[in-house]
């Protein structure tokens, strides 16, 4: 199923990791990893354990069981800062971007380039503005003006700036938490393009999403989570888009939903609403069959 265990080439890998919160088992025996120049998609519905997995990978939580390996060596991350120092950058859904600050100030926050000496040591503003603009252009992001506040950017553009920043500061692994979920179709497409760009730069990308239609076009391998457990990791060759959709939704549950809708439809078959429900039920039935 997964060849992580054999290959030593994984940039980041977790091996049989479990995480408990009191009596709740948030993650159970999860194994997954990402190699350089690869997009690993982690798919799961709400409550599947995606957030816990992200926070474990990002160094916010420490796993209660299992091993965390960076480039084949076992590590214990102490903080998100520690993870970042080891080249693991996480871009959260709610973003580490400050809306009222300009793009270039955001881009360099916490790692400002300086010029001058002693008390005259100052933030190299010209360099920062120029570099921010160049780096964004390199990723194919053409902002009008890096002095504009981040708040004026669309959601997709903000995600893209965050990705460009992580790439510039030497991230080896990029963890993206639902980067497309709050976006429209076109904006989501923009972000997917930058994911591909990051892969082309040789980064390992862990792309966490609940949307198989976003994951399938860019993913190389897919790990599916359900209720804190892993269905396993599959390569793109092993899996069609339809398989992915079906596994994501859980075929059986879709079927149940289809029956339920059918019942409703029978109850008020004469109304227009009923007819619409019937159509929906049929479609779900189709998808459940795959």
């Amino acid at each position: 199923m997964s060849d992580d265990a054999r290959s030593g080439a994984s940039l980041l890998e977790v091996d049989n990791v479990s995480k408990y919160f009191g009596t709740v088992i948030a993650l159970k025996d999860i194994s997954m990893g990402v190699r350089a120049g690869e997009v690993m998609c982690v798919l799961g519905d709400n409550g599947a354990g995606k957030s816990t997995l992200i926070k474990t990978l990002a160094g916010v939580y420490r796993p209660d069981k299992g091993r965390y390996l960076i480039e084949g060596r076992e590590v214990r991350l102490t903080s998100p800062r520690d993870a970042l120092a080891r080249g693991i950058a996480t871009v959260y859904q709610d973003l580490a971007m400050i809306p009222l600050m300009s793009i270039w100030r955001n881009f360099f926050l916490g790692s400002e380039p300086t010029t001058g000496w002693g008390p005259w040591r100052r933030f190299d503003v010209d360099y920062a503005m120029r570099t921010a603009r160049d780096e964004l252009l390199k990723m194919g992001i053409d902002v009008r003006d890096t002095a504009q506040p981040v708040g004026t950017l669309s959601g997709g553009e903000r995600q893209s700036v965050a990705i460009a920043r992580a790439v510039y500061f030497g991230a080896k692994v990029l963890i993206l938490d639902e980067p497309t979920s709050a976006l429209g179709v076109k904006q989501a497409g923009v972000v997917l393009r930058y994911i591909v760009q990051a892969r082309a730069h040789g980064l390992g990308v862990i792309f966490i999403t609940h949307n198989p239609h976003h994951a399938y076009p860019v993913g190389d391998r897919f790990t599916l989570l359900n209720r804190g457990q892993s269905y396993g990791t599959f390569t793109k060759a092993e899996l069609s888009r339809e398989d992915l959709v079906q596994m994501m939704a859980g075929g059986r549950e879709l079927e149940e939903l289809s029956h339920e809708l059918d019942e409703f439809a029978r109850a008020d078959a004469k109304t227009e609403e009923g007819r619409a429900l019937r159509a929906a039920a049929e479609q779900l039935g189709e998808e459940a069959k795959g």
Binding site: P80, P99, L109, E112, V125, T152
Partner: protein, 347 residues
């Protein structure tokens, strides 16, 4: 991609023009305060121009009032951009001034030593403010509201215990002309405190816009957790800014003590609120993450002009407080409007 498409640079430029001069002007936080200062000046120039408002003496008098408030406001603006309040600066003015007077008059310390001791004392107080705020994670509004009363109470208590009085006079500055020149001297007919004010404002603006610390101040106020994750030492930064506001309060106390050759336990009362109002008029957001030190300069200037303008025109000075409250509401409304305009998505 079409053949008619212009190169990236030209395209970016073409789209930028839509933002326009007006929006760029609107996106400056200090715009409201500059406009306010101009309006207030024109108003008093018309109403009180022939009563001395426009004379050198009149100008010097409102600049002097503005300068002491301005020294506080500039420091407070940095702290507020970083997302914290300091309600205790007025009490620190009283405490530091009294510390100088007690050491000099009661214990016969030389004035320069008393001043240095007061500076050290104020830095410790600011450090404690910052430490309590960052360690307990309580809102700084609450913590410094407590220290407002504690510092004032201790100042009154200790002074009365030691001297039986609440005012101490008799500080002799004649022997040390240098200190008098430095803190209470004049350049032409203008008080030297104006220079302190402008120098501090220039320094604060440079720090804010051209240093790493400045970037951290914006970041810490805008999103403290995100900044922390990016490696910004948010807690140390905030402690440093509390020490800065305390130092500014001490500087005002030194200027007052040297100028009046006396100290009063109640000196600086309510200055913290006026400083905050000046900062807010200057365009700084109450929630932090946005603002300017230059705005605070103009906010203080507005108050200096109004306070002296009311005196010159002979209007009952009671009305000053009405103006204070009214200006605060107006400034917040205008600033909210400006900020919405500035942050509006462009499509």
């Amino acid at each position: 991609m079409t053949v008619t498409e212009a190169p990236a640079g030209a395209r970016a430029d073409e789209r930028m023009r839509r933002a326009g001069l007006l929006r760029r002007l609107f996106s400056r936080p200090e715009l409201g305060a500059v406009a306010g200062a101009i309006i207030v000046w024109i108003f008093f120039a018309i109403v009180a121009g022939d009563q001395g408002f426009l004379s050198t003496a009149g100008t010097a008098s409102y600049l002097e009032v503005a300068s002491e408030l301005g020294i506080l406001a500039v420091a407070v603006s940095l702290l507020m951009i970083a997302g914290e309040f300091d309600l205790s600066v007025g009490s620190i003015v009283g405490a530091s001034g009294m510390a100088i007077a007690l050491l000099n008059v009661q214990y016969n310390w030389p004035l320069w030593a008393a001043i240095l001791a007061a500076v050290a004392f104020s830095l410790v107080i600011g450090f404690l403010n910052g430490l309590v705020v960052t360690r307990t994670r309580l809102p700084s509004f609450i913590v410094t509201l407590a220290s407002l009363f504690i510092f004032r109470g201790v100042t009154i208590g200790v002074t009365r215990q030691l001297t039986g009085r609440t005012q101490l006079g008799g500080i002799d500055t004649s022997k040390i002309g240098f200190i008098e020149q430095l803190f209470a001297g004049h350049v032409g007919s203008f008080s030297v405190s104006i220079l302190w004010w402008l120098a501090l404002a220039a320094l604060a603006t440079w720090v804010l816009l051209r240093t790493r610390v400045g970037n951290w101040i914006f970041g810490a106020g805008g999103a403290p957790d995100a900044s922390r994750n990016l490696g910004v030492p948010v807690d140390r930064l905030k402690i440093g800014l509390f020490m800065t506001t305390a130092f500014a309060a001490c500087l005002v106390a030194i200027i007052d003590v040297v100028k009046f050759t006396s100290a009063d336990v109640l000196r600086g009362t309510q200055q913290e609120f006026i400083a905050i109002i000046a900062v807010v008029i200057g365009g700084t957001l109450l929630t932090g993450g946005y603002g300017s030190a230059i705005g605070a300069v103009f906010g203080a200037l507005v108050f200096g002009m109004v306070q002296q303008g009311i005196v010159i025109t002979g209007v009952n000075a009671d009305w000053f407080q009405v103006f204070l409250g009214g200006m605060l509401i107006l400034a917040v409304l205008v600033n909210n409007y400006i900020r919405r305009k500035a942050a509006e998505a462009k499509r």
